[in-house]
């Protein structure tokens, strides 16, 4: 309504978002949009500005600190009058359960407390809650016991249920898998996928857990407040040389010098050290060049233990993309330094 260009199905629209706190410029010119039913993952190392972006979208940052065109469920957080409407349209699952649940009360009472903040009918809310609890496999015998007694995973799932209790159009999740052990992490991701499919809820996940890309329709990569990429994880991987095919090679006594030697091979795009004696190599025309590379290694008298081929996963893509950005920055800094040296 406010913006004729966007479709009714656009849940979140961010155009040229800048966030500045005092003299700290935290988010630089970020633009993206989220369509109904999508799961979006926003990835970035600590301090990249992920939480800051979510806080703009959830009306927690005053307008004076940010700039740009932002619409959440068609409404702009820049107007105070929109806040309560936006906040009833969205759900939020904070990183720590302690911030989302009354530990001394039972799950049902927790549900009642949060539904009352949305002015919802209690009976209907309980029915919704029971449905969510069932989808999330929260055992029935815990429903009437103190949350304190629930296991970590159960608390996490209860927290998700509460975020969804008022049928929000968009659910924001802050680090849903951080601090959860490896096997549970996949559980949580599959529960999120399940909820997304059954309720058609749009989800916006911020995380530095790269496994979360498994369930994401689109991934955003954020570094130092700049949005580097925003696309499907597969498209991003496909954009790598040879559509992300990698050779994983283990070499005896691997060291920096050897890596430099390998980098000299003409069609090599990237050499990543992924283990003590293991590297991964990306090349143009992978199939043609792989035998030639092996020959090159023998000629340089390098002892190869093993070689396997694989397709890069999102984790690898992220690593490559961030590394690329760092190199670009280093080059820029170096040339700036040199320029300064030239002109007195």
């Amino acid at each position: 309504m406010e913006n004729p260009d966007i479709s009714n199905n656009t849940m979140v629209l961010v155009e040229n978002l800048d966030v500045v706190f005092g003299n700290k410029h935290i988010v630089h010119d970020v633009s993206f949009s989220v369509e109904e039913g999508e799961i979006i993952g926003m990835f970035g190392i600590s301090g990249a500005g992920k939480t800051t972006i979510i806080r703009v979208l959830t009306c927690q940052i005053e307008k004076k600190n940010w700039n740009g065109n932002v619409l959440v469920t068609g409404l702009s957080p820049s107007k105070r009058g929109n806040h309560s409407k936006i906040l009833s349209n969205i759900g939020y699952v904070p990183q720590l359960e302690l911030l989302n649940l009354y530990f001394e009360l039972d799950p049902i009472v927790n549900v009642e407390i949060f539904t009352s903040t949305y002015g919802m009918d209690k009976k209907k809310a309980i029915i919704t809650a029971e449905k969510l609890f069932n989808i999330l496999d929260i055992p029935k015998d815990t429903w009437k016991k103190r949350v304190k007694r629930m296991s970590g995973g159960e608390k996490k799932r209860l927290s998700m249920a509460i975020g969804l209790i008022h049928h929000p159009k968009v659910l924001f999740l802050d680090e849903p898998t951080t601090g959860v052990d490896a096997s549970k992490r996949y559980d949580i991701l599959s529960y999120l996928k399940k909820l997304n499919q059954q309720l058609n809820t749009t989800m916006f996940i911020i995380t530095h857990d790269l496994e979360a890309a498994l369930i994401c329709d689109k991934s955003a990569i954020l570094r130092e407040g700049k949005l580097l990429e925003f696309d499907t994880p597969q498209n991003l991987i496909n954009s790598l040389p040879s559509r992300g095919l990698v050779a994983r090679i283990s070499i005896e006594n691997l060291n920096q010098e050897i890596i430099k030697t390998i980098q000299k091979y003409p069609s090599i795009e990237k050499v990543l050290r992924v283990g003590n004696e293991t590297i991964e190599v990306l090349m143009e025309d992978f199939e043609d060049n792989l035998p030639k590379l092996m020959k090159f290694l023998f000629e340089n008298e390098l002892k190869v233990y093993s070689m396997s081929r694989d397709v890069a996963n999102f984790r690898r893509y992220f690593q490559i993309r961030i590394q690329e950005e760092e190199e670009k920055e280093n080059r820029k800094n170096r040339s700036e330094l040199m320029n300064e040296g030239d002109s007195p």
Partner: protein, 383 residues
């Protein structure tokens, strides 16, 4: 967004906190029972007096008799109307010889603890009253126990008040108290009754402050509440309401218990109840203030303890206000000093509510509430 939901949430949270509930409702009950049993049920004659009247009305042309009726009224009040006093004996002495004899007799009675005090009504007692000037009242006490001296000082107000009401007297008494030093009289248990009236408001203010001071800081999901359509204003308002209701319940419990166990009060027990609620409300306000300005639960606990100690020190019960010197203004801006005056006025002097002190307590509460609101409004709450 419904505020009733938020208020309900506050009650659910308070209800789930067993330890605080015990603190709020069990401790005062136990105290009242213990004190009630020690002091006994119903009014007790606490003090025993002897009176020497030298009252003598001068003969004027237009004044028919030299009857000295006002001393008789005073004596009969001491004898019959006063609930605290027992009259041991009385002496009429119109000449110096009689007076000396009576004085020596009373001195003996006081020294041997037959009486706690002997009162002397001077020659111009009735005359002063007729002339609307301040009559002088002299009473001799055993000065060896200073707390007993204070208790007597307060207790003597009762017959004086009754007397003034009886004869519609406007002027005040000029009271002179020569101290005589003997052994320590034993009226500890009576003193407890005086203490209870002051201990109860301390309990109310302390427990409500304690409960309320944690209400914001200890609620983890509170910042997350703000990512729902809940306004900050509603949150703090719901806390004020819920904690005030709990405080009223506590004051009511105390009121009922004290009525049952016969708290000695000259004035209206209902006024006493009002003062309890007033001081309790101030406790809620200070508690909210602490909760709003403290960053953590631990911080709130420390600040609570500090505030509570300061409030007690400057309540005028530990140290009389006059002895505070430059720090007296602290007593004025803290609630308990006003409450203790109100309570002694009601229970021991039988006076009505002193609106000035009521007003002071309300103002103090309001100031704390406003600071709490502003501090909470600007408090950074992040999830």
């Amino acid at each position: 967004m419904t505020i009733s939901g938020l208020i309900q949430k506050e009650f659910i949270r308070i209800k789930s906190d067993r330890r605080t509930l015990i603190l709020l409702f069990f401790i005062p009950m136990i105290l009242i029972i213990i004190f009630g049993l020690t002091t006994g049920v119903g009014p007790t004659k606490f003090f025993t007096a002897a009176i020497i009247s030298r009252d003598e009305m001068p003969t004027y042309d237009d004044f028919p008799s030299n009857s000295s009726e006002y001393d008789d009224i005073f004596i009969s009040i001491m004898e019959q109307n006063s609930t605290t006093w027992d009259l041991y004996s009385q002496f009429n002495s119109t000449n110096i010889g009689e007076y000396n004899q009576a004085f020596n007799r009373c001195f003996y009675l006081l020294k041997n603890e037959f009486i706690d005090v002997f009162i002397i009504l001077p020659q111009n007692f009735s005359e002063s009253i007729v002339n609307n000037s301040n009559p002088v009242l002299i009473y001799y006490i055993d000065g060896s126990d200073s707390s007993a001296v204070r208790a007597l000082e307060v207790a003597i107000q009762e017959p004086l008040a009754l007397f003034r009401v009886e004869i519609n007297m406007i002027e005040n008494f000029t009271i002179m108290v020569p101290h005589l030093e003997f052994g320590v009289p034993s009226w500890e248990s009576q003193l407890l009754n005086y203490a209870l009236a002051l201990i109860l408001p301390i309990i109310i203010v302390g427990t409500t402050m304690n409960l309320t001071s944690l209400s914001i800081v200890s609620e983890g999901p509170l910042p997350r509440m703000l990512i729902t359509p809940t306004a900050k204003r509603d949150i703090i308002f719901s806390k004020l309401i819920a904690n005030t209701v709990v405080m009223i319940m506590q004051a009511t419990e105390i009121f009922i218990m004290t009525s049952f166990f016969g708290l000695y009060s000259l004035g209206s027990l209902f006024d006493f109840y009002l003062v309890l609620m007033l001081i309790g409300f101030c406790g809620v306000a200070i508690g909210l203030f602490i909760s709003a300005v403290s960053p953590t639960e631990q911080g709130a606990n420390q600040m609570y303890l500090m505030m509570f100690i300061i409030i007690i020190i400057f309540s005028g019960t530990l140290m009389p206000a006059e002895s505070l010197g430059g720090a007296k203004f602290l007593a004025d801006i803290l609630p308990l000093s006003h409450a203790s005056v109100l309570i002694t006025d009601i229970t021991l002097r039988g006076l009505p509510l002193n609106l000035e002190h009521v007003f002071f307590i309300l103002i103090i509460s309001l100031v704390f509430l406003i600071i709490a609101y502003v501090a909470y409004k600007f408090k950074k709450l992040e999830v």
